[in-house]
């Protein structure tokens, strides 16, 4: 039998044109839409050499804008992680009137134009408004045209990220593990810390990083809320716009490259985390 099989060559499998075709289309699309623009901006930023790029980025005004973007996003991420976890927990573990509505509202920030977000915050916290003037007069807190406004805007637009990455994992948790811990003498706090939280850590970090990455580049709401005051409330994205408008393309590209680099490394990290969660 084996000699026979060897004697007759196996029929050649047909060339899978269809499969190659589909891949080709997808890759081309990706290249045209994502990779080529990224390459172009990289080339543009490095056109005068790496030294010039660093110089552009470390200009005090650019450097301050980048730092502002990073620290406001950082503060937002911490608040978002805590409150997002809490919201997800409430949505998964409790049933109350309006549960379905609340669950739907979580995604609303994804759909609302960010400019509108900015307008809403100005209307609510603006210095001429009741809440805004009360905060300023009674507590000395300026919200609009100041970093707190930026953080508020970022909190609003990134609200869904943590909730939606924690929720499915929390939903899939086996609650008898919590019962088991209770029979072993663990109190509610211990059960949360040792049983519920550990499996949520990775999705929590992943959601938090996503919201951080999203926040770094936020423009629409901030341009309205922050007032664009250099060395005070001008974020990196708004700075880039200013550089483009004043025809300093190099400065714009350089800061853009830094933002892209941060976002890209965060996305890689999130991707790695997601794969660990799925395992």
């Amino acid at each position: 039998m084996s000699t026979l099989a060897a004697a007759r060559p196996a029929p050649r499998p047909p060339v899978p044109w269809g499969r190659w075709g589909i891949r080709g289309v997808a890759f081309t699309y990706l290249a045209v839409l994502l990779i080529i623009p990224l390459m172009v901006i990289l080339r543009d930023g490095l056109r005068e050499g790496g030294g010039e790029l660093i110089r552009q980025v470390t200009l005090p005004i650019a450097w301050h804008a980048l730092k502002l973007s990073l620290w406001t996003a950082g503060v937002m991420t911490i608040i978002n992680a805590i409150m997002g976890l809490l919201t997800a927990y409430v949505l998964v573990r409790y049933r109350f009137p309006g549960h379905g509505l609340l669950n739907a509202i979580v995604d609303l920030p994804l759909a609302i134009p960010t400019l509108v977000t900015g307008v809403m915050l100005v209307v609510l916290y603006g210095p001429q408004q009741a809440l805004g003037s009360w905060l300023r007069d009674e507590w000395g807190i300026r919200v609009i045209f100041a970093p707190p406004g930026i953080i508020l805007a970022l909190l609003f637009i990134t609200f869904p990220f943590v909730v939606r990455s924690v929720q499915p994992v929390l939903l899939a948790l086996d609650q008898t593990q919590e019962d088991a811990a209770a029979t072993l003498g663990a109190t509610g706090l211990t059960i949360f810390r040792r049983i519920i939280l550990p499996p949520l850590i990775l999705p929590l970090i992943s959601g938090a990083l996503l919201s951080f990455a999203r926040a770094i580049g936020e423009f629409g709401s901030i341009v309205i809320v922050a007032g664009n005051i250099p060395f005070y409330s001008q974020t990196a994205a708004v700075y880039v716009l200013g550089e483009v408008e004043s025809e300093n393309r190099l400065g714009a590209s350089a800061v853009s490259i830094v933002m892209v680099a941060i976002a890209f490394s965060l996305i890689l990290l999130v991707d790695w985390l997601q794969r660990r969660i799925n395992n």
């Binding site: 086996d174 019962d179 088991a180 811990a181 029979t183 072993l184 003498g185 663990a186 040792r194």
Partner: protein
């Protein structure tokens, strides 16, 4: 006593899942709670552990009332059916969890963990993650974890349920050995009889939230006190016979029995339990080494390893009603299950269709529960009429009666109940006087939860609120409902309408059980609504009806069949006009998705048209549903 449960009750969505369960478990005892799924056994365990609260009653562990203590302070060990291991911790961390919570020093903790790993035979696997070990090993870890903090009691919720047969047997032995070694009081919940028999020092059988019987496994198996336990544990041949002088009469046959083993007085009906292994077979009656029951025909035999199981058909015996195995519909044969050892088989091999003599080596008598009636009364003329009607039927059918006074205050209720008692007079097997201050449906729900009944009598006039009341009462328990209009006389001619959309065998069986004692006759009516029905369907309906007639006659009710063609409710009314019927029987409509029953349609049309006729609405029995579906479908096609 390690564990004392007093009167535990729990309901979900209004249905009682645990219903007044009381139990005492001795130190070091291995107690098994056995029941089918949904019987409430796991809920009992959760109540003991404090994972579920009880609505009433108390839980006492080692003399400590823990009813209102949180789970954490009850010091129980709990093993869950699906292990519930902490997936993100190693085996060792899982086992040490309870010790860490108690802040035990690391050295002592590790020593205890190693002891436990050795105890459950998992030494060396401490550093594995739960998903890296097999199901059987995971359950051993769960057991070790539950034992680590030296709990007062060990609670096991179907711990072996998710494992395959071989590992289950092995783990069962491990479990028993460990329990003996530690001497820890243990409750195990299972639906697996073999497991229950093998592990239990004592056994409790649960059904629909009630703890029916408690005792050592052999006692419950050989001498059960209730029909449910007799048929639930192992295989049972269960017949209704009669208590006689020094024994039991099963038709013409007399079997000796210690008089002290008789649950009732001479002349009363008893249920006779014959276990399959206590049935003897022989070619001739004189070759039996025990009293004969009769000659039967082998229906089939099945080889099952160490045993051979077979089923035999015996001709009907006068006055003997088989309960289990359930007799075929419209068939009067008595079916007998036999289990023989291979040794016995080799001495007398049997073949299907062969004739053999059947003898009984050992039997057990249980009190026959008989029927139980509930009659609500508020003193109204309608209620009074129902009371008189029901009281008469109860006397004739030897039924136990509960009177439920409602719609009046406590003093008036007592007075009214006493008056009713006098009016009913003597001759009742048992009379229970109860009172509720709630509206009828709510009070009745409570009452049938305390003590299920077979039949509720409701004074009835065909008005909308009365229909709604009937609809509310029907789904409250497992009972049927008899609507009694004023001035009704005891039934003598019964019309069983299987044409109302739900023709079940239960209609006919229950009707027969009820009216056989009053010497009534019956007609079984089917209405074929579509004029185009072909001959085959007509024959099928006819066959179904004749089986019903046969069943009625077997139970002592002479009967005939009637088939009519035309609009259903109109045809029923015409049939009613054709003969002096005095009791109508309908099958209850099926409940809708939310469990509610509507009488709108044929039943309400007929009742409105003939308001003077008492009407029995029979619910289909749950477990019998499966075997009626075939016929049900066959007849429903017609309408």
């Amino acid at each position: 006593m390690s564990i004392i449960l007093e009167n535990l009750s729990k309901r979900y969505e209004g249905h009682p899942v645990v219903n007044q369960v009381s139990l005492e478990i001795a130190d070091g005892e291995f107690f098994v709670l056995l029941g089918s799924s949904g019987s409430g056994k796991t809920t009992v365990l959760s109540i003991i552990a404090g994972l579920v609260s009880t609505e009433q009653g108390r839980v006492i562990l080692h003399g400590r009332d823990v009813t209102y203590l949180p789970t954490q302070q009850r010091n129980v060990g709990y093993v869950f059916q699906h292990y519930a291991l902490f997936q993100h911790m190693t085996v060792a961390d899982n086992i040490e969890f309870g010790l860490r919570v108690r802040k035990m020093p690391a050295a002592a903790r590790q020593q205890r963990r190693d002891e436990l790993l050795e105890l459950v035979g998992l030494t060396g696997l401490g550093s594995r993650m739960p998903r890296q070990i097999s199901g059987g090993q995971q359950q051993r870890v769960a057991l070790a974890r539950a034992l680590a903090h030296r709990p007062d009691v060990l609670l096991l919720d179907e711990p072996l349920g998710a494992l395959d047969a071989k590992i289950r047997t092995e783990l069962r032995r491990t479990l028993k050995t460990i329990q003996r070694e530690l001497g820890i009081t243990t409750i195990l919940v299972t639906h697996d009889q073999e497991e229950a028999f093998e592990l239990a020092d004592r056994l409790g059988v649960m059904s629909f939230g009630r703890l029916l019987e408690v005792g050592p496994p052999d006692q419950l198996y050989r001498r059960p006190q209730s029909e449910f336990v007799a048929t639930f544990l192992g295989t049972a041949n269960l017949l209704v016979g009669e208590a006689a002088y020094n024994g039991i009469q099963v038709g013409p046959r007399h079997f000796d029995l210690d008089s002290q083993a008789l649950p009732v007085e001479e002349g009363q009906r008893v249920q006779v339990l014959i276990r399959p292994e206590d049935v003897a077979l022989a070619v001739a009656a004189d070759q039996l080494d025990c009293p004969p029951l009769g000659q039967g025909i082998v229906e089939h035999t099945v080889f099952s390893g160490s045993f051979e199981r077979s089923r035999l058909r015996l001709p009907a015996l006068p006055g003997v009603r088989p309960i289990a195995p359930p007799p075929a519909y419209g068939d009067d044969a008595i079916l007998i299950e036999v289990t023989r050892t291979q040794d016995q088989v080799s001495r007398l091999p049997i073949q299907p269709e062969q004739k053999v003599w059947v003898g009984v080596r050992r039997l057990h008598a249980l009190a026959h529960p008989g029927l139980r009636f509930l009659m609500p009364t508020d003193g109204s003329p309608l209620a009074e009429a129902a009371l008189a009607y029901g009281g008469h039927l109860a006397r004739m059918a030897h039924a136990r009666v509960t009177l439920l006074a409602y719609g009046m205050d406590a003093a008036a209720g007592q007075k009214h109940l006493q008056a009713c008692k006098e009016k009913l007079g003597g001759g009742l097997v048992a009379l229970d006087l109860r009172q509720t201050e709630k509206p009828l449906a709510a009070g009745l729900a409570e009452e049938v939860e305390r003590q299920p009944v077979d039949l509720v009598f409701l004074g009835f006039a065909p008005h909308a609120p009365q229909f709604r009341l009937a609809e509310a009462i029907l789904p409250l328990g497992e009972h049927h409902l008899l609507l009694v209009p004023p001035g009704a006389a005891a039934p003598s001619q019964v019309l069983v309408c299987v044409a109302s959309g739900e023709p079940g065998k239960e209609d006919i069986r229950f009707t027969a059980r009820l009216v056989r004692h009053v010497g009534a006759e019956a007609a079984v009516l089917a209405v074929i609504s579509s004029p185009q029905t072909n001959e085959t369907t007509r024959q099928r309906v006819d066959r179904f009806l004749s089986q019903g007639v046969k069943t009625l006659e077997l139970l002592g009710v002479p009967a005939e069949t009637v088939i009519r063609t035309g609009p259903v409710s109109q045809e029923i009314q015409q049939q009613i006009a054709a003969a002096p019927y005095d009791l109508l029987v309908f099958g209850s409509p099926l409940p809708d998705k939310s469990g509610e029953i509507s009488l709108d349609g044929v039943i309400s049309q007929v009742l409105t048209a003939v308001p003077h006729l008492p009407t029995l609405i029979v619910r289909s029995a749950g477990p019998e549903r499966a075997d009626t579906v075939g016929t049900l479908y066959a007849v429903q096609e017609v309408f």
